[in-house]
Symmetry: none
DNA sequence: CATGAATGAGACTTCATTCAT
DNA sequence: CATGAATGAAGTCTCATTCAT
């Protein structure tokens, strides 16, 4: 019997930590780190406080593990950014679309940004790791594409700050969606299109 | 009449709430709302816990009063945005420079943004007021200038989202400075210049 | 000018302590000793906390002074109990009516009983004084009348406890009115009449 | 199976709330509601503050639960009042003796009365429930017996207030014992006897 | 592994009391 | 006298963490 839905006890157990991390994510999003209660996280999973402590020795380490957990998919996305194809402008467009699809549109990525802004002061290596793993690679990749475009005479040369400016509307949209939690309706496609136009226009015009 | 340092009782009293609000700002910035202690705020002023409660009945109301307090200067800035002069492009440039000078470069304004992002969920009218008082007027003013430029054939017509995109680099810079607390060095002038170029180029090119 | 209503400043000042005692009575009745706030007492008088401390050095002494103050009229009542006239039965009736009129029907006397019951444990000499000044004299006076009636063959001899029993309905009515704060309507005259009948019937029947 | 002293975890747990309620009773009796400290209640049980809050969410709810707890035996007493036997006079005598044995002589019942008088204003439904559950049924039962005696020509007809008066000495004795905490020695049996004589004499004489 | 009773440090808040003006 | 700003001890309640079962 191939066992369709039911999980074996072993599978169930292997799942526990992940369930806890997901629950932790929701609670920390809702209340922030300091105001979240381990008990509420446990309750979300349907276990008791003690169980959380079986898997994570402190609230702090649970928070850090949760951050690792939710940023894992993001890391994967960045790795796919090597496969961009075409001319520099096309690569830039593809890359920006990739970021909209997997960062701006992904709730976990957005909330990761909130944690970085809100809890960064109390978790300094959250900042450092976030910069190392996400900000720097993204800016770096954009810079590469820009350099490539310039080398091929496809783009006009731009100063170093241009890479940052290039990313700005995307970051701004993340923030706006964090703040208004989607009560504010922005036409996401129109916004992205305008963003691209602006950048490409400036590079090629 | 000597009056070197000593304040009269009356002066002291008028000062107290302001001192407390300033101290509250620092503590709330450092730890966030939930993790800040009223006692530490008091200590910063050089008084005891009880004194804080003479002026603010709860920690929550102290937080809200502090938000009002630090956003007061900002409100004043926006009111000066009527005096822009020249052609639309010049007005846009002046307005963006105004925003860089008084928002991006002002620590209180930047940290206000952090409070909005970090504590907005627990203080919903913080969000609402912030939108009403700052976001909406700023976007509105930009839109006005754009419309004016279009009407005078100075600018190319752009879709509604363009105003948001226009503001993005500025918002992004606020966020970056919040995250890296000035450890990250961005050439602020170069960045602003690139921002302006990008926007004007797209509008007039 | 004979000065009709307006008080001179001097009179006003002489009044202060009395006003405070009255206000204290109301607050202590409402909340009990522990839960009453000196500030609320002051507010009732229209002065500030500090003023209360000008006249009464501690909350405890204020409470005790208030007890003295409200029991003063009662003391006067007992002194008039010497003027009873007629035969023993008539004296007993007059005395019981006196007690109904000046104790059962007097809010201050009733509330004094509440203080004795509720705060007696924390103010032991409240109990002692109350016994000395009120309970013992009243029981004593009743006993005197009973003895007189027996001596004159007007009453049947009764055991010592009878004096206590004689007073019981009156005390019970005080308690009931304290508990129900006059929401419970007892026909006070009918009750007193039944009380008298019961006692006299037993003594003379 | 040894089981000398040690309680199992389960037994211990079932006991805890009861221990806390008993300790709460003692503290609230000693100090009144407002002046009692949760920590002292805990200490009486031999646990810490936190433990009390495991079982009772607030001091107020602890107080209310304690009231329920100590009045439970009383409720049971009233239910046994149906089994009175004999003629009306005998029933009345038995009922009054029942009340002396289980109310006047029961410390918890007496102190319940103190709570009603002292804290009733802050716990209005304490009053209401007390009236509903105790006062009204007791008065009602007395009235029934009186009516029965009248119907059988055993008693003389008496006005409605007579039931209240009938109960008075008992209530008075509760109050006196509350006030003097047994320092005042009343001959309880003689008092009760006099009470009965008085009432029966009036009904049958 | 999972439980949940128990702990105790620590937070917010209250309020009697003091004292300079 | 009267004020009211300031104090600080103390109380209620919370919650991360532990541990025996």
């Amino acid at each position: 019997m191939p066992n369709g839905k039911r999980l074996t006890r072993a599978e169930q157990k292997a799942l526990r930590p992940l369930q806890i991390l997901e629950a932790a994510f929701e609670e920390f999003v809702k209340n922030g780190y300091a105001a979240s209660r381990v008990e509420d996280i446990a309750e979300r999973v349907g276990v008791t406080k003690g169980t959380v402590y079986v898997y994570f020795p402190t609230k702090e380490q649970l928070f850090e593990a949760m951050i690792q957990h939710i940023s894992a998919p993001l890391r994967k996305v960045l790795r796919t950014s090597d496969t961009l194809k075409g001319r520099a402008a096309e690569k830039l467009q593809q890359f920006i679309e990739l970021l909209y699809d997997h960062i701006v549109d992904d709730r976990k990525s957005r909330e990761l940004m909130r944690f970085v802004i809100a809890e960064g002061a109390r978790f300094p290596d959250l900042i450092d790791r976030h910069h190392e793993e996400f900000i720097a690679p993204i800016i770096g990749r954009i810079q590469e594409i820009l350099d490539e475009g310039v080398a091929l005479n496809e783009f006009r040369r731009k100063p170093a700050e241009f890479a940052d400016v290039t990313m700005s509307p995307m970051l701004a949209m993340v923030i706006v969606r964090l703040i208004f939690d989607d009560r504010q309706d922005i036409d996401r496609n129109a916004f992205r299109h305008e963003h691209l136009q602006l950048v490409l226009n400036s590079l090629t015009g």
